[in-house]
């Protein structure tokens, strides 16, 4: 309800009162009039009542001080006392409502004089929310600025890290943009391709590939941009690169794509020069194929050898049998008609056929040795030596040979083949001590780190060390057949068996003082062979 201050002039100012009522009481913003001296409210409008929570009566019993928080009253009083009379005054103040809540209010004050009293008309615009919004805005601006700074720092760090990695990488790192141009070229790329980064950046990626690949690169590139269909992106592929000097080389490319902040596609390629690897692979392949070839040849040789030994076995024996048989028939049927010399000559013939037959048998045995597979197991060497020696014992005991066998460590090998070795070595020792009355044969071992060397030492006729290397050759003999029988295959067989076991054979000796035949075998390797 409108009730202007100074109701006595009410009627004469109807239109003015009406205006006042419209402007003051119906104003949507809180308004009031107060006495500048006492600061007492003289009038308040509806909006003020609504906004501050005090009834009109309560307002009219209050002063300005009471809508201020107590701590602000001092400032208010100071302002009032220092502010000389003026027409307009404006400012933002903190007001306290009846419910105790504080609001920020932009005040527009209009001072005037009524009936000699200094009064003021106040328009109060609650700006709490605007201020809060402004404050919030400022806060988020600050936060954003902070975040931005942090991001910039992080980007800087990332960039530094990328550079550290890229600049020290041994692989070429090349970045390209959506137009297919180089945007980054690391030192390894400079080294591999022969361009400086300065030369390369801005050039099309095609400068790094041979001309024959340019078209397929461009079409692949365009297809990727258009459809996203990737044949190279996201994989590692082997390609051909070309250096600045035009030489081509094999490379391995890992290509990734990403989007720049502008939304454009970009590419990161990591390229490795694989010339060495390719060379090694080619070398390995060549080596493997050479091995295959050698293997095929070896198999052919083996087959030939088999056919050969079959022929030897069959075809060479048959004529020998005929020579021997018909010589005997000659003696049987015509012996009486032949003189002594004829009988001697026939004996020479049959003696030689026997010898030839023995040579054939030994040669075949030797050739079989190279072909038959080795079946390894633990072999009791002491037992084997005694078993083999028992075949020779009768002869040795008759001659009073001193036979001494040290305890021998077991061997890892093929029992049957090792038996053959002992048989040949001990047989030799027995044979070559035949002319001695104080014959002595010793069997022992010398232990080494990775092998065991077995030996048979005798004090027989020995041999000249100058011919030591001939001892193990096939059909190599250091004595005549008249002196000592034999085909010259025994030690060759020993050496072959020992070699097939991964060991070696050697001999020491002196003419007329004896010989020592050694053979070594690798120790058993645990966990298979």
């Amino acid at each position: 309800m409108a009730r202007p201050v100074g109701g006595s002039k009410r009627r004469s100012r109807t239109s003015s009162e009406e205006r006042y009522r419209l402007l003051f009481h119906n104003n949507p913003l809180p308004m009031w009039v107060y006495d500048q001296q006492t600061l007492a409210f003289l009038d308040v409008n509806e909006a003020a009542v609504r906004h501050y929570g005090y009834s009109r009566e309560e307002f009219l019993a209050m002063t300005l001080k009471e809508i201020r928080p107590p701590e602000d009253v001092g400032e208010l009083m100071e302002t009032v006392s220092h502010t000389p009379g003026g027409l307009h005054d404006a400012g933002v103040w903190r007001h306290r409502r009846k419910d105790g809540s504080d609001i920020m209010v932009a005040i527009t004050r209009h001072r005037l004089t009524l009936d000699d009293r200094a009064i003021a008309l106040v328009l109060a615009h609650d700006v709490t929310e605007q201020l809060a919004a402004a404050r919030a805005l400022k806060q988020s601006e600050d936060a954003l600025r902070q975040l931005n700074a942090e991001l910039e720092l992080r980007v800087e760090e990332r960039t530094a890290r990328f550079r550290a990695v890229a600049e020290t990488a041994t692989d070429a790192i090349v970045l390209g943009d959506h137009t297919g141009n180089i945007t980054y070229f690391n030192p390894a790329a400079e080294r591999i391709f022969g361009y400086s980064a300065q030369e390369a950046v801005g050039q099309p990626l095609t400068i790094l590939m041979p001309a024959t690949f340019h078209d397929s690169h461009r079409s692949g590139f365009e297809r990727y941009l258009r459809t996203g269909e990737a044949r190279v992106v996201g994989r590692t592929v082997e390609l051909t690169g070309v250096r600045r000097d035009g030489t081509e080389f094999p490379l391995e490319l890992s290509l990734a794509s990403w989007r720049t902040t502008g939304g454009q596609l970009a590419f990161t390629g990591i390229l490795r020069d694989i010339s060495d690897r390719k060379r090694a692979e080619a070398g390995r392949a060549a080596h493997a194929s050479a091995l295959d070839q050698a293997n095929i040849e070896l198999q052919a040789v083996n087959r030939e050898l088999e056919a050969f030994s079959y022929s030897v076995s069959h075809d060479l024996r048959a004529p020998l049998r005929a020579i021997d048989g018909f010589s005997k028939i000659l003696i049987e049927d015509h012996g009486a008609a032949l003189n002594e010399e004829a009988h001697r000559l026939l004996d020479v013939i049959t003696g030689n056929t026997r010898r030839m037959a023995a040579l054939i048998d030994d040669l075949l045995a030797f050739s079989r040795l190279g072909r038959q597979p080795i079946a390894k197991g633990d072999v009791d060497m002491t037992g084997l030596v005694h078993a083999v020696a028992s075949d020779l014992r009768a002869d040795m005991e008759a001659r009073g040979v001193q036979f001494v066998v040290d305890p021998l460590p077991p061997a890892w090998g093929d029992q049957a083949l090792l038996r053959q070795v002992w048989s040949n070595v001990l047989g030799n020792a027995a044979k070559f001590t035949r002319r001695r009355t104080d014959a002595r044969i010793e069997v022992g071992t010398q232990q080494r780190d990775d092998e065991i060397a077995y030996y048979v030492r005798d004090n027989g006729v020995g041999f000249d060390m100058r011919y030591a290397d001939k001892l193990f050759g096939v059909f190599q003999r250091l004595h005549s057949s008249e002196e000592f029988e034999g085909t010259g295959v025994g030690l060759a067989i020993v050496q072959r068996v020992v070699h097939r076991h991964g060991g070696r054979a050697w001999a020491e000796g002196r003419t007329n003082e004896g010989a020592t035949i050694y053979f070594s075998l690798p120790r058993k390797i645990e966990r298979g062979e």
Binding site: D315, A318, R321, A322, I329
Partner: protein
Amino acid sequence: MNRPLEVEILLVEDSPADVELTLRALAKHNLANQVHVAKDGAEALEFIAHSSNHPKVVLLDLKLPKVSGLEVLRRIKNEPRTRHLPVVVLTSSREEPDIAEAYRLGANSYIVKPVDFEDFVRAVSEAGLYWLLLNEPPNR
């Protein structure tokens, strides 16, 4: 004047020298009169196919022209009519695969011909004596 004696030994051998030596060895024990000699595998199979009475033993060399000894052996042992015919492989080959294959195919003996004539005579005549005089074949 004598009607031909029944063949008791079929000797399959291409080498004339070996034929002569073998016959001589058999003759030492009077076993040479009833021997028929086939000079290759085809001739041997033909003889067996056309003789009414089978020999008591076949002495078979392995290395033969035309049909090999192992093939002759295989056919004899695969044919029900001749399966019981004793076959003694008499050969120069001491090669393990030959020996194994011969026994696998059903050889009754495998004798390596010794080079030494005395040994050869002993081996051949013992085999002849065994199969001709000691062995009791099943009723045919």
